[in-house]
């Protein structure tokens, strides 16, 4: 299991999300972040006085993925986030020690396997049906 964290341009977010969904990665956490890479600073003017904005707005995406998905995830992000200009962002991959799904208590890879709301609902009604029969 790996924790894949990437920092990308806000304007590439939709493309990155689409690419991740295509390779089957649907679990992700987004945050707005500010940061500094090698790109040039933005200059704004207020009443004639110049103001340098040191930090750029970026989006950070965090995904916990099981081993078979790691490479596909990285490739998807690179493909969708790249513009070729300075400031496209970075991907960080870290070892993941333990994962717990809060709802069920499932651990590690079982906890990472995506379960959609539809599935949960059908399981729930199956359970109720079974309970009613017994």
């Amino acid at each position: 299991m790996k924790l894949v964290t990437c920092v990308v341009r806000p304007e590439r977010l939709q493309a990155v999300k689409g690419a991740l969904f295509e390779v089957g990665v649907t679990g992700m956490t987004l945050s707005r972040v500010s940061g500094h890479g090698g790109e040039t600073e933005i200059v704004e003017h207020y009443r004639g006085s110049a103001l340098v904005l040191e930090f750029r707005d970026k989006v950070k995406i965090e995904m916990a993925v099981s081993e078979p998905f790691v490479e596909a995830t990285i490739q998807a992000i690179v493909r969708a986030a790249r513009t070729g200009e300075v400031g496209d962002g970075k991907i960080f991959v870290q070892e993941l020690e333990r994962v717990v799904r809060i709802r069920t208590g499932e651990c590690d890879v079982n906890a990472l396997t995506p379960v959609t709301a539809d599935e949960v609902q059908s399981r729930q009604s199956d359970y109720e049906l079974w309970k009613a029969e017994t």
């Binding site: 207020y46 009443r47 004639g48 006085s49």
Partner: protein, 444 residues
């Protein structure tokens, strides 16, 4: 007063509407200033603009109007109009023969209010609110009232001298601008200046505020004709023209200097044009209004760039906007005034009047600056001796909305509102029951 004079329905209607228009400039100014400060000081800044509606009106009715406009000597009015005594439905022919005296008094009240509100832009984000209230009452009594008497009052010495100030270029703008400059010096700069970028928290507020100011300024200038007349129409036209020229001039300067036109700049340019035309409105041609608006923007813009290179923290550039543009407007009135436009005025420099009128205008500006600057410093130093005028570093950091008013313009941060009313991080709403120690209820 002289009830034999016929009250004109048209004149009365126009002056009452103008009074309401000038009143609307106060919330307009609150938006203009409020948008330019940081979010944590938004309420405090807006309250500094709005509070004079209350305190200055009370002072005006009790003694302010009397000190400004009651018969007195050349330097101060008497007390015969205290509490609006003898200020009623009849006209006062000394000031306006065709409208009720009380309408004139209320129209003038709005000018006293907005003058105090204008000063606040220089001291926002660091002045304690109780000190500001005390300053407002003292300043309007000791500076505004005598000055209004000098320039507009019956027997006022600047009026007798022939100084032209149609709607308050010196009384309102030069005096407020100078007071702002001095107040910023006395209070000192905000601790954060030079350490963090200080950007407007809501430019749309500022744009909308500038729009309301522009709208209200028609009452300010055209209403100052005190009649629904050709003079009012003339002042109306030059007011709009100067604002338009001011906006255009700033946009062009922006384009030349940075290649990008800014919204804050456009709003500021329009306000500068309006300030500059204020003393001139009823004395110059519409065409002259174009020049006055544009020239004032060049002067104010230059003043702002110079100010930005100094350590002076005139936070919202009140001196550069109102002081410099007010001074230029007053002097340019001496250049562009024409008796063809208004027989009650004078012929300025370009209309064969020579330098006489420019000289009188310069004198009026100078004495205004000396009076306002000197007394502003005196009032603030006196206040510092009896109360805390400057806010603490701690309240500057958390913002004056919280430290001065115990409320916030934008409550709850990102996480606070996610958790519903209880607040995810324990922020949000907390019920205060009687008996809870006062210290625990709010900040400082």
């Amino acid at each position: 007063m002289n009830t034999a004079t016929a009250i004109s329905a048209g004149d009365t209607a126009w002056v009452l509407i103008s009074t309401a228009l000038v009143m609307l400039m106060v919330p307009g100014l609150a938006l203009f200033y409020g948008g330019l400060v940081r979010g944590k000081n938004a309420l405090n800044s807006m309250m500094m603009s709005l509070a004079p509606l209350g305190i200055v009106t009370v002072q005006w009715v009790l003694i302010g109007y009397s000190l400004s406009f009651a018969p007195g000597n050349g330097f101060i009015g008497g007390l015969s109009f205290w509490g609006f005594n003898a200020v009623g439905a009849g006209a006062n022919p000394t000031y306006a023969a065709t409208i009720p005296h009380v309408a004139f008094a209320m129209f003038q009240a709005m000018f006293a209010i907005i003058t105090v509100a204008l000063i606040s832009g220089a001291v926002v984000e660091r002045m304690r609110f109780p000190a500001y209230l005390a300053f407002g009452v003292l300043w309007t009594t000791l500076v505004y009232d005598p000055l209004a008497h000098w320039v507009w009052g019956d027997g006022g010495w600047l009026r007798t001298l022939g100084a032209l100030d149609f709607a308050g270029g010196t009384v309102v703008h030069v005096s407020a601008g100078t007071a702002a400059l001095v107040a910023a010096m006395v209070l000192g700069k905000r601790h954060v200046v030079g350490r963090a970028p200080l950007v407007p928290h809501s430019v749309p507020f500022t744009l909308f505020g500038a729009g309301l100011l522009w709208f209200g300024w028609f009452g300010f200038n055209a209403g100052s004709a005190l009649t629904a007349s050709d003079l009012a129409a003339l002042a109306f036209a030059s007011t709009h023209t100067a604002a338009a020229a001011g906006l255009t001039a700033w946009v062009l300067i922006d384009l030349i200097r940075t290649g990008k036109t800014t919204a804050v700049g456009a709003a500021t340019g329009a306000v500068i044009g309006l300030v500059a035309i204020t003393p001139a409105a009823g004395f110059v041609s519409t065409r002259s209004g174009l020049l006055i608006g544009a020239l004032a923007v060049v002067a104010s813009y230059t003043a702002m760039q110079i100010r930005a290179r100094t350590t002076l923290d005139d936070t919202l550039d009140v001196f550069a906007c109102h002081g410099v543009a007010g001074i230029f407007g007053a002097l340019l009135t001496g250049v562009f005034a024409s008796k063809v436009v208004n027989p009650a005025g004078a012929d300025g420099l370009i209309h064969g009047g020579g330098f006489h009128q420019v000289g009188v205008q310069a004198l009026a500006v100078l004495v205004t600056m000396v009076l306002s600057g000197g007394l502003t410093a005196g009032i603030l130093v006196a206040l510092q001796a009896v109360m805390k005028v400057r806010s603490s570093i701690a309240s500057e950091v958390i913002g004056l909305d919280s430290s001065e008013h115990g409320e916030e313009a934008y409550h709850a941060g990102d996480l606070g509102e996610m958790g519903g009313s209880a607040g995810a991080l324990g922020h949000g709403v907390v019920l205060i029951r009687p008996g809870v120690p006062k210290r625990a209820r709010g900040v400082a």
